[in-house]
């Protein structure tokens, strides 16, 4: 068990190092002068400030020091939590900007993905057992998964936001409020959170429900289910087994979803102008803010790796087959 986790950990560590290295290489080996192209995009009118920035970035990129030294100082900066300073929001440190956005993205995506997963699995399992539900849930599920996300999001924003006027359609909170721990602010936050959350939730729901339904039906046809039925075991027991076994591929699916978390965030956050990592990526791209981009990508990579590692361990705990494989097979 520990050897297995150690091995996994090693692989993830290696992936991390490679990702960081690539991340470091991109701006440095890109054609053209990264500093100039960055600064040309930054709207700085004060020549003195421009001068300061130019010096700072030349220094950070350390174009006059040898490459390996640049690389090492990049790593040591990383360990100190120093991801550089943004040009877009000069002179704010990249880390601060990212940390400000991360809660929005996670707060949006984690509940959307996990709740849609839980609810979808329940629905799918129900559908597998009742004809009526199957005939309703399944078509709805197919329609939902086939709906382009953009279209659904706009539809929601238009109907619930603009026509019904129940929910705000843009931003993380009202401009008139300041972030604080008060009922007013929190309810405002939730109101802004709801539509982007709902759109993500609905789009993911159908896929999970269909997947679960198909898996359960498959499991109910499996040999062990037939054997138990031949021995007169009640359907309740067989369904319990089928549900549990059908969950395993769904958990893998969840892991994959969590892995593509950021990509999922991008579209939603842009549609609803939500202040998370997705919009941050977009604006940092627009303003050629390499440090910010670099920082975000590092975060994404770490997030994906951590999510996968957690799923790996969960999988080992719930599926005896992986457990057997890693202790060296059957006797």
């Amino acid at each position: 068990m520990w050897r297995y986790i150690g091995r996994k950990l090693f692989v993830y560590l290696l992936t991390f190092i490679v990702a960081v290295t690539i991340n470091w290489m991109i701006p440095r080996f890109m054609p053209g002068d990264p500093v100039r192209s960055m600064l040309s995009r930054a709207q700085v009118s004060d020549p003195e400030a421009l001068e300061r920035m130019t010096n700072y970035y030349n220094d950070v990129f350390g174009l006059d020091t040898p490459l390996h030294q640049q690389y090492l100082s990049f790593w040591s900066g990383l360990f100190r939590g120093d991801l550089g300073i943004s040009t877009m929001l000069y002179p704010e440190p990249v880390l601060d900007i990212i940390l400000r956005s991360v809660p929005y993205t996670l707060g949006l995506l984690l509940p959307a993905i996990i709740l849609s997963w839980i609810v979808g699995n329940r629905f799918g399992a129900f559908a597998a057992r009742s004809k009526v539900l199957d005939n309703t849930v399944l078509p709805v599920g197919y329609v939902l998964t086939a709906t382009p996300y953009m279209w659904l999001a706009l539809l929601l924003a238009w109907s619930l936001g603009i026509i019904a006027g129940i929910f705000p359609v843009a931003g993380g909170y009202s401009f008139s409020l300041r972030p604080e721990f008060s009922w007013l602010f929190i309810s405002d936050l939730l109101a802004h959170w709801f539509l982007p959350f709902l759109s993500l939730f609905i789009v993911a729901l159908g896929g999970w429900a269909i997947g679960m339904r198909n898996m359960i039906i498959y499991e109910l046809e499996a040999d062990y289910a037939n054997y138990l039925q031949a021995l007169g075991a009640p359907r309740k027991l067989i369904r319990r087994y089928a549900f549990r076994n059908a969950m395993l591929p769904q958990i893998t699916g969840l892991a994959v979803q969590l892995g593509t978390l950021i990509a999922g965030a991008l579209l939603t956050e842009i549609v609803f102008n939500y202040p998370g990592l997705g919009t941050l990526i977009l604006s940092s791209l627009n303003s050629r803010d390499f440090f910010l981009l670099q920082g975000i990508f590092l975060f994404v990579v770490v997030g994906v790796l951590v999510a996968n590692f957690i799923i790996d361990i969960v999988y080992v705990l719930i599926d005896p087959r992986t457990r057997v494989q890693m202790t060296g097979g059957s006797s």
Binding site: A222, D223, Y224, N226, Y227, L231, N245, P320, V324, S330
Partner: protein
């Protein structure tokens, strides 16, 4: 008489029509009898086994009756069958290798199954261990997952589970087919031992391996295309078969009755008729060297000498 099957007809419903997999099967099985059930692939052996315990959703009971220990077996009524299953009639399925839930420890699965069938696991725990040891397994297998067991071990575990409640009738569907020769012998011997100890009263042992069944079975029944063609004591079927199909089947074996040669059913020219729209008359007539005009009528299964049944116009 333990089991009495009379003119049993079970069809598979398919999009192209009914597959007449069992088309009037009649036989008796005595107390303590081990009956080998042989015949080419697709002749309806598994279907017969399933028809005695549980019809799947595509199977339809078309006619005929089953009686076990004097009581009717209501095979068409799935709910009424439940009390009989496992307690009275049990099954070792053809797919025994995959018959165990892969994500449950075997012991836990057995406990859950027993509890669901109204048996306190503690009441049979000792017996379970004893029987596992009897078939040469360490009772510790109960703490393992199915994947941790070899195919032969799984086979024996399923055998012990299926017979744990001492059923009257056990259907063992090709329990030895996937095993190597020495394991086959061991499993077959355990089956006989189970019968001798009274764990099961009587047994239907489906197999392709005639020489194996010759050694362990009391009687052999041969099926062809959904019909019973011959049933007799094992020695009679092997040494003096009367039905042309049985004769060719036995004749196709390399060395009949020897212990060294493994007999497999093969080598009769032609193929059995399709069961979707079976021909009238004797179903073997297209391949039968002795076929004559009368064979366009279906020959009845008659007792040609005590305990020896055959369905052929030439033997009647």
């Amino acid at each position: 008489m333990t089991l009495r099957v009379n003119d049993l007809k079970v069809y598979y419903q398919t999009l192209r029509g009914d597959v007449h997999a069992l088309d009037g099967v009649t036989f008796d099985l005595a107390d303590g009898e081990i009956m080998g059930l042989a015949g080419e692939s697709g002749c309806g052996k598994t279907t017969l086994g399933k028809s005695l315990i549980r019809l799947d959703s595509r199977m339809r009971h078309v006619g005929g009756t089953i009686e076990l220990d004097g009581k009717d077996v209501p095979i068409a009524d799935d709910n009424a069958m439940v009390p009989l299953r496992y307690h009275e009639i049990s099954l070792i399925p053809q797919y025994a290798m995959s018959a165990l839930n892969p994500t449950r420890k075997i012991g836990r699965m057995v406990d859950e199954l027993l509890r669901a069938r109204g048996v306190r696991p503690a009441d049979v725990a000792d017996e379970l261990r004893r029987r596992l040891e009897l078939v040469g397994l360490d009772p510790d297998v109960l703490n393992r997952f199915p994947i941790e067991l070899s195919g032969g071990m799984k086979q024996r575990v399923v055998m012990v589970i299926s017979t744990l409640l001492d059923p009257s009738l056990l259907i063992a569907d090709e329990v030895t087919s996937a095993l190597d020769v020495s394991t086959q012998r061991a499993v077959a011997e355990s089956m006989v031992e189970f019968r001798d100890r009274g764990y099961v009263k009587s047994m239907i042992f489906v197999t392709h391996d005639i020489s194996l069944v010759y050694q362990m079975a009391d009687t052999i029944m041969v099926m062809y295309a959904g019909h019973v063609v011959e049933k007799a004591p094992a020695g009679t079927v092997i040494n003096e078969p009367r039905h042309p199909y049985t004769q060719m089947l036995i004749g196709a074996l390399p060395e009949v009755g020897t212990t060294t040669v493994q007999g497999r059913l093969e080598g009769i020219p032609g193929t059995p008729p399709g069961l979707l729209d079976p021909p009238t008359g004797c179903r073997f007539k297209d391949r039968c060297p002795m076929a004559f005009s009368k064979c366009s009528e279906q020959p009845p299964l008659v007792e040609i000498e005590p305990g020896h049944w055959a369905a052929c116009w030439k033997t009647g």
